[in-house]
């Protein structure tokens, strides 16, 4: 359904060096599939999410690649076709629900606007659908919420409303960018459960972008691990978690495993990854993880790693596996 091929994007902010945000990203999402994308801040995961709908700021340059959705390349579509896809075939749920909602319009109106933009319903039908949607995302009293304003809702409620907006027109693909990072752990669990339900019921695909791989285990069918703008490893969630190949994935999972430990105790030292996140405005040749990699080899610093397919559905970009 969604096919990214060699997507390469640079940011060209005025008066500063260009930043290589994405480098040759190739990945597929099938219908009804949940793909998790994880990585640190600066890994390019948010850029990826926004790029699918061409929602990047004006100083972004789509240097190369294609974003094929149901056969058509989003990057070359004209404005009206793009507008028709946004919100109705692919919908983006962004990070901070509090700021994604208009402060002076009622919640019901905001959801209704999405319907109005894409579906031919009259006002009454729209209002009915709005209430339906609010019920679906878990509100007992949709009428009260529909006439409320954004500042009257809590973080969790706001996030539910944003999800309602996204599924309003029954899209084929949802992209959720850090939907829970600003919520406390209980709310996180609730919102993720909601997303998972929604996806199951409507048969939508979901791209879940997060910096916390813990969220993806048990929820995502496949995981893609990103670092410094490239996908370093990708495969079925169970595969990748059980058998992480890339050193970065391994390090990440070590951290994540701490959570699952049933006998936690105060640690002397967390298994942190040494070094700092890479500076994307000074990208050179070679593997971008190399400075922080505990298993680096001489070739890693000079050549870009090529992809190896370790199995039919598990691939990794690392010289360790290049034969």
């Amino acid at each position: 359904m969604l096919d990214l091929r060699g997507l390469t994007i640079r940011y060209l902010p005025r008066g500063q060096r260009p930043v290589q945000a994405l480098k040759g990203v190739t990945i597929r999402v099938q219908a009804r599939e949940i793909l998790g994308i994880t990585g640190e801040s600066g890994s390019g995961k948010s850029t990826l999410g926004a790029a699918i709908l061409r929602l990047l700021p004006a100083y972004a340059d789509y240097s190369a690649g294609a974003v094929l959705f149901e056969g058509r390349d989003v990057l070359v579509m004209d404005d009206s076709e793009l507008r028709r896809i946004r919100g109705s075939r692919i919908a983006l749920i962004s990070q901070d629900s509090a700021s994604s909602l208009n402060p002076v319009l009622k919640i019901g109106t905001q959801i209704s606007e999405v319907l109005r933009a894409h579906l031919k319903l009259n006002k009454q039908q729209r209002m009915g659908r709005v209430l339906e949607l609010l019920r679906e995302v878990g509100f007992d009293d949709p009428e009260r919420i529909a006439s409320a304003y954004a500042h009257e809702l809590s973080g969790g409620q706001g996030q539910r409303v944003v999800i309602a907006q996204a599924v309003a027109c029954g899209p084929a693909l949802l992209i959720a960018d850090e939907p829970t990072s600003k919520l406390d752990s209980q709310l996180q669990a609730e919102i993720l459960a909601l997303l998972s339900n929604v996806v199951r019921q409507h048969g939508t695909g979901l791209i879940l972008i997060t910096h916390d791989p813990a969220i993806l285990v048990g929820l995502a069918d496949r995981i893609a691990v990103m670092y410094a703008g490239s996908i370093v490893e990708e495969g079925g969630t169970a595969d990748v978690v059980r058998n992480p190949l890339h050193p970065y994935t391994q390090a990440l999972l070590r951290l994540f495993m701490l959570r699952l430990d049933r006998h936690p105790s105060k640690m002397d030292k967390f298994p942190a990854i040494v070094g700092e996140a890479p500076d994307l405005s000074h990208a050179g040749p070679g593997c971008c993880f190399e400075p922080r990699c505990l298993e680096r080899m001489t070739v890693c610093a000079t050549e870009d790693p090529r992809e190896s397919n370790l199995s039919h559905s598990h691939r990794v970009s690392c010289f360790k596996y290049a034969n």
């Binding site: 983006l92 402060p103 002076v104 933009a117």
Partner: protein, 325 residues
């Protein structure tokens, strides 16, 4: 509703305070209406004293103030010494003229300014913006007096409008339609001056507001959900951007009576402005106070209206709403 009530109460108190201050200031200003008369040897001191007694100017300040307040409650704002007539009807007549001018000007200003601001805000950097921005900068930086006199000079030169007064001679003999036409033509110059200055202000405010809102994440989110550009602008951006504009609108209303003084004097429009000027210069006590009070009423009313509109349009500032969660 309680909010409005509280505001009205506060407004009444404010008016009382304004009137008191006005009294005090006029009293403290050197000179009185009769100074000129005193200099005139033909008028005897006894005449002056009796005149003063007639107008109650020999009573102590406090007494005068209370007597005036008492009669003001009935709508009687005192007596004008210069015109030898009650103040209230004098003010009304002039105020009507002023309002005619300023209401027209304000309407036009906002009808032009808001769309202009919307346009330049949403089309930043494009042609329309490149044209409008320096123009409004120019209009903003030119002082009102200079603008007024400049346009006056142009009017005299190019004769595109009559340069004084509200009506032509022989106004009474014109038919109703011709009367309206005549007044409109006379209004052209002062309205033009007012509008040129005002549109620049409104356009700037709206533009800045629109630019700010366009960058907000919820607008990006709306575009991301496929809502069209025009719809986003009018249905999503405008309601938020309207907030500061509404405050500005309050100022516009507040200035309906007081803000056109310069223009009225320059264009010889028989409104409240020239009257206040004259009265102040000649220390015509009650006329001055009455006129200031009139202006104050409008100013307070203007702010109150703006606040009420804001209350109705921006849900964020409703006082005392409990959390929905």
């Amino acid at each position: 509703m309680t909010y409005v009530f509280h505001r009205l109460l506060r407004a009444a108190l404010l008016l009382l305070g304004v009137s008191l201050l006005c009294f005090l200031f006029t009293e403290m200003a050197p000179g009185s209406f009769f100074d000129e008369m005193r200099l005139n040897p033909q008028i005897s001191p006894e005449t002056i004293t009796s005149l003063r007694a007639r107008y109650g100017l020999d009573r102590p300040l406090v007494v005068r103030y209370f007597r005036w307040t008492a009669s003001a409650m009935h709508g009687d704002l005192g007596y004008s010494i210069a015109y030898n007539a009650p103040v209230t009807p004098l003010l009304w007549a002039r105020a009507k003229n002023t309002l005619l001018l300023t209401l027209t000007a304000t309407l036009l200003t906002w009808l032009l300014g808001v769309p202009l601001g919307l346009m330049t805000g949403s089309a930043r950097g494009k042609f329309a913006d490149k044209l409008a921005t320096p123009t409004s900068s120019f209009l903003l930086s030119v002082p009102e007096l200079v603008l007024a006199v400049g346009l006056l000079a142009l009017a005299v030169r190019w004769r595109f409008a009559p340069v004084g007064g509200m009506m032509s001679l022989g106004f009474e003999d014109l038919s109703p339609w011709e009367k309206i036409r005549d007044m409109a033509v006379h209004m052209l110059l002062p309205v033009l001056i007012l509008v040129l200055g005002g549109v620049a202000v409104v356009e700037r405010h709206v533009r800045v507001s629109v630019l700010e809102v366009l960058d907000m994440p919820y607008i990006q989110a709306a575009r991301g959900l496929g809502i069209g550009r025009a719809r986003v602008l009018f249905r999503h951006v405008l309601p938020v951007a309207a907030n500061p504009a509404i405050s500005l609108f309050g100022f516009s209303i507040a200035a309906l009576l007081g803000g056109s003084l310069v223009v009225e004097v320059v264009a010889a429009w028989p409104g409240l402005g020239p009257l206040i000027l004259e009265a102040t210069l000649s220390r015509d006590l009650y006329l001055v106070i009455g006129a200031v009070l009139f202006s104050a009423v409008f100013m307070i009313a203007g702010n109150l209206i703006a606040d009420v509109i804001l209350l109705a349009s921006d849900p964020r500032i409703r006082p005392g709403e409990p959390d929905a969660s």
